[in-house]
Symmetry: C2
Subunit: 347 residues, 2 copies
């Protein structure tokens, strides 16, 4: 593994709007001078960059979460972990490791503002990639989605879709810690094995099994919490198996990212008989509580009660291919690209 050019800021930009899954021609490789530090700025050297389904939407120019959509020629959005190498801000020192919005580039110079926030990462004795997995938006989504929205109680039955994904794999571990019975859904045998290793009591391969029938068999007293990372058919199947006072947490809908037409949920009235609740979830609504959550997650990591699940792709040059592969359902855990070796957080 080598950075294409350590003397330049290497970038991946949008060459054109993707149609369906992304292909090589949608990306433009670009090199420019490493930015010169301005007043109040910090200069960051990228270590890891996140790979997420939402990135195809960035490339399509869609406005996400109220932000302006990207134009052709823009550097692709993406969160990352980076080392401070120079600083004109007394709150940040060279050598500190931060997590935040970096974009697909190997250096970034930026002011730290309310809008452009960066969080310092304590690695808990683990690689700094945890800044994108357990201690990143992924882990925080699992934490708030499960605890604040799902409100799990000991011995409750929780069904998690996308269970082998970044959020799902963390939800499983926290739910087991609380004493829930956990049923995970994943799309192949290797992922089913993985989620059982993480503690799932049951694993359902949704590509080969009849979901409704299997849920009937496994949840004879109904589902207390359905943690939804996928939307569509599996959400609909869960609505048909709700226990009294159950909670559905709408965290993600990856099944819809590559569809033009949204899924019509035709059994939402199933919420009525059981007094159940479908709770929408958006992680940035919880930002005032991130510090407290990080404290909990860090101690669970240190005590080895939970562990990060990461699918690491190597090399900045491979990012377009890596992004394409995450829509195929082949990856597990948090997908990320390792940009640089040789730091104390390498395995």
């Amino acid at each position: 593994l080598a950075i294409t050019n350590e003397q330049k800021n290497c970038q991946w930009r949008i060459a054109r709007r993707p149609k369906g899954n992304v292909v090589a021609e949608d990306f433009l490789y670009h090199e420019e001078e490493i930015p010169i530090l301005q007043d109040n700025e910090i200069l960051l050297r990228t270590l890891y960059l996140n790979l997420a389904p939402v990135m195809r939407m960035y490339m399509s120019g869609e406005s996400i979460a109220g932000e302006k959509g990207l134009d052709i020629g823009d550097v692709i959005h993406g969160r990352g972990v980076a080392e401070v190498i120079k600083s004109n801000n007394s709150n940040y020192k060279p050598g500190e490791i931060l997590q935040g919005q970096i974009g697909w580039q190997t250096f970034k110079s930026t002011e730290v503002t309310e809008r452009e926030r960066f969080r310092k990462i304590n690695n808990c004795g683990l690689p700094f990639s945890i800044g994108l997995s357990t201690l990143g938006m992924t882990g925080l989504s699992a934490y708030f989605g499960l605890l604040a929205c799902g409100k799990p109680k000991k011995n409750e039955t929780i069904v998690v879709s996308g269970a082998a994904g970044g959020v799902g794999s963390t939800v499983i571990q926290i739910a087991k810690m609380i004493g829930c019975r956990v049923i995970g859904l994943a799309g192949n045998q290797a992922k089913c094995d993985l989620i059982k290793e993480l503690g799932c009591d049951e694993a359902i391969n949704y590509r080969t099994e009849d979901i409704r029938q299997t849920l009937s068999n496994l949840c004879q007293n109904g589902i207390d919490i359905y943690f939804d990372n996928v939307g569509g058919d599996i959400l609909s199947a869960s609505l048909d198996h709700l226990a009294q006072n159950s909670r559905i947490v709408l965290c993600g809908s990856i099944s819809e990212y590559l569809h033009d037409k949204p899924y019509g949920l035709d059994n939402y009235t199933k919420l009525r008989r059981t007094n159940s609740c479908m709770q929408g979830f958006f992680i940035y609504n919880y930002s005032a509580q991130f510090d407290a959550a990080e404290k909990d997650l860090s101690s669970w990591l240190k005590e080895r009660k939970i562990k990060p699940v990461e699918h690491i792709y190597d090399g900045f040059e491979n990012m377009p291919k890596a992004l394409s592969s995450i829509y195929d359902g082949g990856n597990y855990g948090v997908a990320l690209s390792r940009i640089r070796h040789g730091l104390n957080d390498d395995e």
Copy 2:
């Protein structure tokens, strides 16, 4: 108005399964002997019977709320208000007025069991029909749906569909009492006038106005509570105008009663960004708290803070026609049939 025959128990039974709206041929008029009181039983003389959309489903043989569906020839299900005229149960005395499952008949003899419960009605100085409106399942649905599920706070904006209906008209009045801004939807001008009289700050005629556009204009800071009595399109439009931390109460879906294919809700993911919640509601899940609710509702009635809204059809013989008309959207408030005159609860 006269009972067809005071010497007999007059009944309406299912002649055949309705197709679409009910017609006269779907009903069978039947007279039989007034039941003879058995041990532990009470004999009831019907005063009012409820008319509700669900009754077409009873006639279709559908299993509702876990109960066995009705057969051809069965007396149609329905709640009513009745006077105890004889009693072999020391808890009930002749002259007391009860509310409960009576069916479409002019007399009923029954044991009072856990399953076949009857509630005594204190008329609060009003006609005993309030046992089917404000103090019946309708008023209780408004009470628990709004207060326990909607959790309204002063100055919040609440949108109520089916606002001129039994539940809706009560929701409006309780919400105004709490200090909410209330926007009601109804299907004609007379109903819009009615709900404004009941306190609605705004009334939307959903048949003549563009619902999405009007909601945009009236709810510039979003909807805090959407109280759904209708389902379908209006629910979907509300999802597009949610405020942060808003609540949708799924109480009814009358728009779906005459459709074969359920509505596909394709924007349910709108719950996510705003951390909103769609809460299913089924009144019998709250039965342990009915007494406390009745106490509140009774004092509000006595203090004239809320009032019943009833659409009274006269005469047992007119019940089939009356039921048919409630699907046309012409009625308002709680629809009910007055079976007998001459009691102290007549207006």
